[in-house]
Amino acid sequence: MHIEQLTYENYRNYAKTDLTFDHNVNVIIGENAQGKTNLLEAIYVLAMTKSHRTAKDKELIRWEEPFAKIQGQIKKRTGPLHLEVVFSSQGKKVKLNRLEQERISQYIGALNIVMFAPEDLRLVKGSPKERRRFIDMEMGQISPIYLYHLSQYHKILKQRNRLLKDAYSKSFDDAMLDVLTAQLIPEAAQVIRKRYDFLNKLQVWANDIHEQISRGLEHLKIEYVPSAEVSNSMNLSTLEEKLQEQFNSVIDQEKRRATTLVGPHRDDLRFIVNDKNVQTYGSQGQQRTVALSLKLAEIELIHEQVKEYPILLLDDVLSELDDHRQSHLLSTIQGKVQTFVTTTSVDGIDHKTLNEAELFRVENGEVVKKK
């Protein structure tokens, strides 16, 4: 898929910006703090209806303006598609081909993106929360059903945690806790099962790419680390049984700690390179290669699932990669993946992909096409 036109209004510090893209690779150059990332963020928001940098939608609206609006004209395999996201004090609205969508889950997935930013280099080393966020974001784009189960899961989880806070009050009702546990388990099983399925597929691509980048020296394995005693081979009903057993055994502990201790919200990922856990034993270079392999695998996986390449957003990562990884990345996107790259300079990078790219310069929030 291709973004042909991007317009934003009252977004961040911009009154109005209107950009057309007719090249595959678009390089956005500018000094620090000029608004390069804002441009990538706008594309990200258009796809995901939220920012990767802030949880507060309000920050996206220009100071003292009533709303922020981002629109994109997309060319897909199936035809043209117009996307629109509006943020205002009443919340957000999303439109596909100018028709308002009632559910965000019906909108997400219309535009597929893969973002690679400096913080993704921490995917391996960072907290479990970052790895869960990675898997949820990527799966949400290709599976609206996953997004649905995940949001149901979190809603029930919130109710259950609230109830557990009163576990020692007089009015506490054990039957109510049982009901919420029974409600939580099928959603938890769905989320876990779908994560396993996704990782099984991602694993194949990621290992392939990882072997290429490491010139065949390293093999990558992705492991799901569940908080409950479940495994990849279990079907939904076995997962549910196992979760029920687990909940039965931790119930007293849950009451004491006033929170839910088992379930996908406490699961994690582990990356194994040549039989060693990269998180503990890997070098920084290895950790970066894993992050890069995962992102490139995502591109291929989305292509496999939706039969089209996603848009790739590279935020300031070129300079973070060594020449070899850089050139691997650039060769992968060459001619097939529409890419937006931000960087402070393109000096010293001599690659066909970049030489054919269109350059944009950002200065004080103004974006200008460079000849």
Binding site: P144, Y148, Q159, D173, A175, M176, D178, V179, Q183
Partner: protein, 198 residues
């Protein structure tokens, strides 16, 4: 701009209603000014009367101007089935269907720990009391198909099942007369889950 006080009071009054913002409230208020005095008077009386004369039925908790309500009083209705709903509006919706001839029980809410609403805060204890005499043989739980509604349904079912009374849940899936292609993925997957043999 400053409105004269009687108008601004009227506008404030309208703004307390759901779905009405300042602009709509102002439009309604100015419309009231142009209405005939007797119409305004009737309207005001209707508002006050609705509030004063309607209570909750002491049996089913449905809004009513007689106690017990007309549905509970109706001797031709089936007393062995009770349909449990969240809201009085749901009773009206079910009655429009003209197919259900049993009794109702209105909970006036759903269980939601986050909002501080437990089983005692909605009319579940009253429901359990109603089941004690032996006429009731089936409960149809028609709470909303969202998380709170489902939790409420499950809670009621756990409480009532041991008494031997049949508890059923209304089905969810595709709307009748709709096209399959317009259904969202989640509704479709629910419809597949609840499929029935032909």
């Amino acid at each position: 701009m400053q409105y004269p006080e009687p108008i601004s009071k009227l506008i404030e009054g309208f703004m307390r209603l759901p779905g009405i913002g300042p602009k709509t409230a102002a439009r309604l208020a100015f419309y009231v000014l142009d209405m005939k005095e007797e119409d305004v008077f009737d309207f005001g009386k209707a508002l006050v009367n609705a509030k004063r004369e309607l209570t909750h039925c002491s049996i089913c908790q449905h809004i009513t101007d007689t106690d017990p309500c007309r549905i509970c009083e109706d001797q031709t209705r089936d007393r062995s089935v009770i349909c449990v709903v969240q809201d009085s509006k749901d009773v009206i919706a079910m009655e429009k269907m003209q197919e259900f001839r049993g009794q109702y029980h209105v909970l006036h809410g759903a269980i939601s720990p986050v909002d501080g609403i437990g089983p005692e805060d909605i009319h579940i204890p009253d429901l359990i009391k109603r089941l004690q005499d032996e006429t009731v043989q089936e409960l149809i739980v028609a709470t909303n198909p969202n998380i709170e509604g489902e939790a409420t349904a499950m809670y009621i079912s756990r409480l009532v099942k041991p008494t031997g009374i049949k508890v059923s849940r209304i089905a969810h899936g595709l709307p009748v007369g709709g096209d399959l292609e317009y259904a969202d993925e989640v509704t479709l997957s629910k419809a597949i889950e609840g499929r029935q043999e032909l």
